[in-house]
């Protein structure tokens, strides 16, 4: 009996028991779709996080006070340790101290209420230097950024993000006046949109000169304290050299050793690695749970095949009497089980693809489904079908024709 005939016979048998076959297939279908979607969600999430972080500049080192914070590019402002200062930023900007560093942007920030006329909105107010624009890989949409001269003179100027502008009802913000913490500032520029990242909405901020922030808005006892120093490295290859330079310079300046260090240097790459590792662990965890449902689906296939063999004892006996060898019977039942697996797998991939196109809209999370994961899903469902079919099929093949024919 040819393979084609075996498939045809198996297909007939499954069609005869439509409802049962459909329900069995459902078990595999749900399992495959669940695994594909959880893996897809995990991959989509880590892809998006990686993209967002890289968008902020991949040649970036971030220096934060204390040694407790290693994850998160942006650190909350008030109430945290203030061991970093403008002096540290100036030290790092010195080419003779740190030759691999291109630019340095010290940042002090606070969450403050911003007023524009009668409208108020709470935004992140960032005090920094002109290099901030380059270091954070941002651009100006209209107007201009502030200058070094304006930093030196503690000018009352501000550059705002697009979200802030919208919330304050400023259609063309350049030239408008805003009030922050009782200080009236002139908006001189609007930032290009950057989108959301793990650090929050990158378009909801007010950027002002560091000196202005320190003198008029800071609540810190030390007006020269900064919450973060962003360091742009010359190129990707110099990243570890720059890391060493920053560490050495700050350890010396603060008079501490590596064990008592009061700051942390993290690279954008380290953050990406941490985040993707976390995402991968979560994905594996979720996929394992989904995998259990796939296993249950496989047990369902085996169960239904055993029922099928028990129910079709007479049919098996007749087929054997008419000349089916044990091998032919074995093949027929194996193919039946494999068909259940493959049909479930294909339908599961279909549902997975459907989910991948619908879920991002519902959850706001991207779902990445690769051809590889679809191929793996199909191979796994086939393997489950065969694996679940072996025992029932061998039972069918071993039935003695007379016992089989005798059964009522």
């Amino acid at each position: 009996m040819s393979w084609l005939e075996t498939f045809r016979t198996a297909g007939d048998a499954l069609r005869t028991r439509r409802l049962r076959s459909a329900l069995t297939v459902l078990g595999i279908l749900i399992g495959i779709a669940a695994v594909m979607l959880t893996v897809g969600l995990g991959q989509g999430a880590s892809q998006r996080i990686t993209d967002q972080i890289n968008k902020l500049g991949s040649n970036l080192l971030i220096v934060t006070p204390g040694s407790t914070t290693t994850v998160g590019g942006v650190r909350g402002g008030r109430g945290t340790a203030t061991t970093l200062s403008m002096d540290d930023a100036q030290l790092l900007a010195d080419r003779s101290v740190a030759p691999d560093i291109a630019r340095v942007a010290p940042v002090s920030q606070s969450s403050l209420t911003v007023l524009a006329g009668a409208t108020n909105w709470t935004s992140t107010v960032v005090g920094t230097t002109p290099d901030w624009l380059e270091v954070r890989a941002r651009a100006i949409a209209s107007g201009r950024f502030f200058t070094s001269a304006e930093v030196a003179s503690e000018s009352s100027v501000a550059i705002i993000g697009s979200t802030t502008a919208t919330q304050l009802g400023l259609d063309s913000p350049v030239g408008q006046m805003i009030t922050v913490g009782g200080q009236t500032l002139t908006v001189v520029g609007l930032l290009e949109t950057a989108g959301s990242t793990t650090g929050g909405d990158q378009d909801d901020l007010v950027v002002i000169p560091q000196s202005t922030f320190a003198a008029r808005l800071s609540t810190s006892a030390n007006p020269r304290a900064v919450s973060t120093i962003y360091v742009e490295v010359r190129d990707q290859a110099s990243l570890s050299a720059a890391y060493q330079e920053v560490s050495t310079a700050l350890l010396t300046a603060h008079g501490v050793t590596t064990t008592t260090a009061d700051f942390t240097v993290s690279s954008q790459q380290a953050i990406v690695d941490t985040v993707t590792t976390t995402a991968r662990i979560l994905t594996v965890l979720l996929a394992s749970i989904a995998g259990i449902s796939l296993l249950v689906g496989g047990i369902g296939v085996m169960n239904i095949m055993l029922v099928s063999v028990a129910e079709r004892v007479r049919e098996i006996g007749l087929r054997k009497a008419l000349g089916a060898t044990p091998g032919v019977i074995l093949r027929q039942f194996l193919v039946e089980a494999s068909l259940l697996g493959i049909i479930g797998g294909l339908a599961g991939i279909g549902l997975g693809l459907l989910g991948a196109s619908v879920l991002p809209g519902l959850l706001g999370q991207p779902v990445t489904i690769s051809p590889l994961s679809a191929a793996v899903a199909l191979a796994v469902s086939l393997a489950i079908g065969i694996g679940a079919g072996v025992y029932p099929a061998s039972r069918a093949a071993r039935l003695a024709p007379i016992d089989a024919l005798r059964s009522e």
Binding site: M1, T9, A13, T16, R319, L322, G323, A324, P326, I402
Partner: protein
């Protein structure tokens, strides 16, 4: 399309000197049923020549079902030899026996044993499926076999859409379709009313007249009477009830 040998043409009348189609010598079959040893068949010698129509009679428990299983290569004897069409099948394994059953034997069962999900012609083509015959030829031969049993207009009917007599005719067509050396009928009329019984017996008569070798296992006299020769199974042993050519009698069969 392959031309199928027509069994209606060129068949000689049964010849008493023809070579034996099947020959059993000292066949025994012993079952183990728990602690109990059951000697179902206790030494049977039987020779059936090509073209013969033989009835095996006997009450239930006489071992005739076991004998039928051995004749049909569904089971192997515990001892003794069984030659079918010149081949010793008593020592064969399950795989080889399947091929022998497929090629040499056409079964007609009391319960018809048709697959309910398949139409008449798909049931009839089953033995050809296991013989590796192409789909197109299978259909042609199945339709032809159904025509021979008078069911040319019922080929697409499912078993449940057919009467008992028609179902049994489908199974006769299935037994014929491979052109087997032996047609083995196990209580072929056991589940039929008297009209259908006559119909099936008439069909067997016709097949015999065309030169087929037929062995019928039955406990019904009317059925056994149709055969050319009658043997009786009792307590695992076989006795000849009537010699070939002699008219058979009820009283002898049941004596």
């Amino acid at each position: 399309m392959t031309v199928v040998a027509d069994p209606f043409v060129g068949v000689a009348a049964p010849d008493p000197d023809a070579r034996p189609l099947l020959a059993l010598h000292g066949v025994t079959k012993t079952y183990r049923s728990g602690q109990l040893q059951v000697n179902a068949v206790r030494g049977v010698d039987l020779t059936v020549r090509a073209g013969e129509y033989v009835a095996v009679m006997g009450p239930s428990g006489s071992g005739k079902s076991t004998l039928m299983h051995i004749l049909g290569c569904l089971d192997v004897p515990s001892s003794g030899s069984y030659e079918l069409a010149g081949e010793d099948v008593s020592q064969m394994g399950e795989h080889e026996l399947a091929h022998v059953r497929n090629a040499r034997i056409g079964f007609v069962f009391q319960q018809f044993n048709l697959l309910p999900s398949l139409s008449a012609w798909r049931n009839v083509e089953l033995p050809l499926l296991y013989a590796g015959v192409s789909r197109r030829e299978r259909k042609a031969r199945a339709l032809e076999a159904l025509a021979r049993v008078g069911l040319a207009d019922r080929v697409d009917h499912r078993p449940t859409e057919l009467s008992g007599g028609q179902q049994q005719r489908v199974s006769v067509a299935r037994a014929l379709v491979t052109e087997p050396a032996l047609i083995l009928a196990d209580e072929p009329t056991g589940n039929l009313d008297s009209a259908s019984t006559l119909e099936i017996l008439g069909l067997l008569d016709k097949l015999h007249a065309q030169g087929r070798t037929i062995v019928v296992i039955t406990h019904e006299h009317d059925v056994a009477e149709r055969a050319q020769r009658m043997v009786v199974m009792r307590d695992g042993r076989l006795t000849e009830a009537a010699r070939p050519g002699e008219p058979t009698r009820h009283s002898e069969g049941l004596a």
